[in-house]
């Protein structure tokens, strides 16, 4: 008797709560939900433009994801693992694309769409949008790091910045002037970005193969390229070049350092240009700092060898469980037109993946370094492409931090051992 009553109560509670999960509204054109990373409002503007251009075929509604890339990935992966049909379009950070592509969370790109959206797109962005040589997302905007330098320091050190420089050259130049280098040594994704750029510039790769399963992943760190990268990071970490802030320096901390008296060279994303100009406008930064700032292609590791600058940005993925995959691809094609990419660069400072967008006069006006960015994107190398990127990145950060502890003899081996064991499920991270 009592049991039955309790069961009835339980049923009543469930009956009350379950309908809350379901919801529906149907009338008018299909609404496509675009999960975007937070920006300065550019993606919402583009969504509105495409809604207008669609003339009633669909409406794009944006939904903002968490601020950091890790949080975005966590939310999307959890929703997609639960077959969430409300995800139509997603702004995806390239390193996490294989992880979502491998289990079939992304709707396949139709051949004709793939052909159209690849035209005139820089190589780095195409690589980052693909998994196992197939385009799985639509390239949208592409980011890359440049070498930013104080013209006065480079001149005083006698370094010719019209030619590509190497890490050795900028380290010697900064040291000769008693200045600090702006690099990212914090235990965070930015450290992986740095390590990857060094290893790729030295001609190696962190991951040697694009394996599907965890126990097949092979690391390429224990190589000459890996050891060269470790040597550069360790030397900056132990010597005076990094400064005391190096073990906790992220991109913003590097920018703060670069705006100070001890600035010399810094590797960083193009946002620093808008940030410094905004600071001058706000009166918090002296205009002479901006005038003294130059830019060049990311430093190389070996003399005479082209560098492989970091590649970042956002590509558009279409949810495999969406009810409107075809419309979503139409919308994605609209979002990534060169005009929209140029608009996004000029207003939000995020560089296009399409080379023709760089010729837009507004872009050239807002970013005098646009041509350097375009060249850097052509040379750029993506971070390791594997469904287990998160483990690889965290494993690197675990073994290559703090920078002062990095040595060519131990660090590449330690990272290889840890990441391999973690992927086999034998160790924790």
């Amino acid at each position: 008797m009592r049991r039955r009553r309790r069961l009835g109560l339980l049923a009543a509670v469930m009956a009350l709560t379950i309908p809350l999960a379901a919801c529906g509204s149907d009338s008018g054109p299909p609404v496509l939900t675009w999960f975007i990373n937070p920006d300065d409002g550019g993606q919402a503007d583009i969504a509105q433009m495409c809604t207008d251009e669609a003339a009633g075929a669909y409406t794009i509604q944006t939904s903002v994801l968490p601020r950091d890339a890790g949080g975005q990935r966590e939310q999307l992966a959890r929703r997609l693992a639960a077959n969430d049909s409300s995800i139509d379009l997603m702004s995806l950070d390239p390193p996490f694309i294989p992880e979502l592509a491998e289990p079939g969370f992304l709707a396949p790109v139709p051949d004709d769409v793939a052909q159209r959206v690849s035209e005139n797109v820089v190589q780095g962005a195409l690589d980052g949008a693909s998994w196992q040589d197939t385009l799985v997302t639509v390239p949208f905007w592409a980011n890359t790091q440049l070498l930013w330098y104080r013209k006065s320091v480079a001149e005083a050190a006698g370094l010719d910045m019209s030619q590509p420089v190497t890490w050795r050259q900028i380290m010697d130049a900064a040291e000769s002037q008693g200045k600090l280098l702006g690099v990212q040594g914090a235990k965070a994704e930015s450290l992986t970005v740095w390590i990857n750029a060094l290893v790729e510039s030295a001609g190696g790769s962190i991951i040697a193969n694009q394996a599907e399963s965890a126990d097949q992943v092979q690391l390429g760190l224990d190589s000459d390229a890996g050891r060269q990268a470790a040597e550069i990071i360790g030397e900056i970490g132990r010597g005076p070049l990094g400064g005391p802030g190096l073990p906790t320096a992220n991109e913003n901390a590097s920018l703060t350092l670069f705006q100070g008296d001890q600035a010399s060279f810094m590797v960083n994303w193009p946002f620093v240009w808008s940030a410094m100009n905004a600071a001058v406008e706000a009166g918090t930064l002296d205009a002479s700092v901006v005038e003294d700032t130059g830019w060049a292609i990311y430093p190389g590791v070996n003399d005479g060898e082209e560098s492989a600058p970091p590649y970042g940005g956002i590509n558009i993925g279409i949810g495999a469980f969406s009810n409107h995959v075809d419309l979503a691809y139409q919308a994605a094609e609209c979002i990534v037109t060169p005009q929209h990419q140029a608009f996004y660069f000029a207003t939000n400072g995020n560089p296009p993946s399409n080379t023709t967008a760089f010729d837009d006069p507004e872009v050239q006006d807002a970013f005098p370094m646009a041509d350097t960015i375009r060249q850097s994107l052509q040379q750029a190398a993506p971070r390791p492409q594997t469904p287990y990127y998160n483990e690889v990145s965290l494993g690197l950060q675990e073994t290559w931090h703090p920078p002062a502890s990095v040595t060519p003899e131990t660090s590449p081996q330690a990272a290889t051992d840890l990441i391999t064991a973690v992927l086999r499920g034998d160790r924790l991270l």
Binding site: R6, L9, L10, V13, G70, E74, A77, R78, A81, E99, L100, E102, P103, F105, A186, K187, A188, S213, G243, P244, G245, P247, T248, A253, T256, L257, P387, N390, E391, L394, H401, P402, G425, D426, R427, L428, L429
Partner: protein, 324 residues
């Protein structure tokens, strides 16, 4: 996660005895009261089971699998394999050690500080008492994440002011990066934790102080006991129950520390704690099986603390509000 489950769970046994231990023959009225009691407490009880017991059982079940959220097809039963990996890994033991160190140090400091604050609040003039209590409670009212950011920016090498304000202290200068080594990072984490939660412990102690009868103190004073003797021999023994409850609650709380570490170091430089490890494994790495196993171990640790406190130190949770 498991964390929110522990405190309500401790309360459940108290809810059941009147019903179960009732005498075989009860009056109609007693039975009606018991029925009413069930009707009143029942819905809350069901909801509590749904939101605490069910997730705990689910976590126990999940912890037996090797299961990654983005590779649902590869899910396989490994029995206690996850536990073997965790218990055999130095990452877990160092996280446990750091958690224990943070717990012990913060609770000790907070107990002393909190007791002093409780005494001040207790003895303060009646006109000042309200204002004083509010002032002391302000840190506790601040969201932990916000206080963690505030402390982080205070000590941060690029934006912080601590290095220049305290440059006269030996060992502190403009080049000291607090978050670059284990000792200094833990110092800031513990300091912010103490700042934030001392008010909580002092409130619990204040309730205990208020229970100590003034007659006892007066009698001791008449007998010639000094202030120190009265405190040590009369007041503290009489509020032992309140002290133990305060220590237990804070120890459970401190053991689950997450926000401060997450914001300030994110586990860098040997500051990883158990909650952060569980979070990074199940939420960050999407390893549901391994993460659940860490959560279960964290849960067991919390139960162990409760067990030690209740059985060995005989903390009576019901006496905190003046039961006995």
């Amino acid at each position: 996660m498991t964390s929110s489950a522990t405190i309500p769970a401790a309360g459940t046994p108290a809810a059941t005895p009147p019903q179960r231990n009732g005498k075989p023959r009860r009056s109609e009225r007693a039975r009606a009261e018991a029925r009413l009691g069930w009707w009143l407490a029942g819905p809350a009880f069901v909801i509590m089971l749904a939101v605490t017991l069910y997730p705990i059982l689910q976590a126990l079940y999940d912890s037996l699998f090797r299961y990654r959220l983005t590779a649902p097809g590869d899910r396989e039963m490994v029995w206690f394999g996850n536990y073997a990996v965790i218990l055999g890994d130095s990452v877990f033991w160092s996280a446990l050690l750091v958690t224990v160190v943070i717990t012990v140090i913060t609770v000790l400091i907070e107990l002393v500080l909190g007791f002093a604050l409780a005494l001040v609040m207790h003895r303060a003039l009646t006109q000042l008492r309200g204002l004083l209590r509010t002032a002391i409670l302000v840190p506790y009212g601040i969201i932990t994440v916000v206080s963690a950011f505030a402390w982080f920016y205070m000590f941060d090498i690029t934006s912080g002011f601590v290095n220049s304000w305290f440059s006269w202290v030996p060992g502190i200068d403009a080049d000291l990066n607090w978050f670059a080594s284990q000792g200094t990072s833990l110092f800031v984490i513990i300091a912010s934790e103490v700042w934030k939660t001392t008010p909580f412990i002092s409130l619990l102690l204040l309730a205990g102080l208020a229970q100590v009868s003034g007659d006892l103190e007066e009698a001791a004073a008449v007998d010639g006991a000094s202030w120190w003797q009265r405190l040590w021999r009369v007041v503290i023994p009489n509020m032992k129950a309140a002290i133990m409850v305060a220590v237990l609650f804070r120890a459970l709380d401190a053991f689950r520390i997450f926000d401060n570490v997450f914001i300030m170091t994110n586990g860098a430089n040997g500051t990883e704690v158990l909650s952060l490890l569980a979070y990074r494994t199940s939420i960050g790495r999407l390893e549901i099986g391994m993460g659940s196993a860490i959560s279960v171990l964290l849960f067991l640790c919390v139960i162990l603390i409760c067990f030690i406190a209740i059985k060995l130190f005989k903390v009576d949770l019901s006496s905190a509000r003046g039961g006995s």
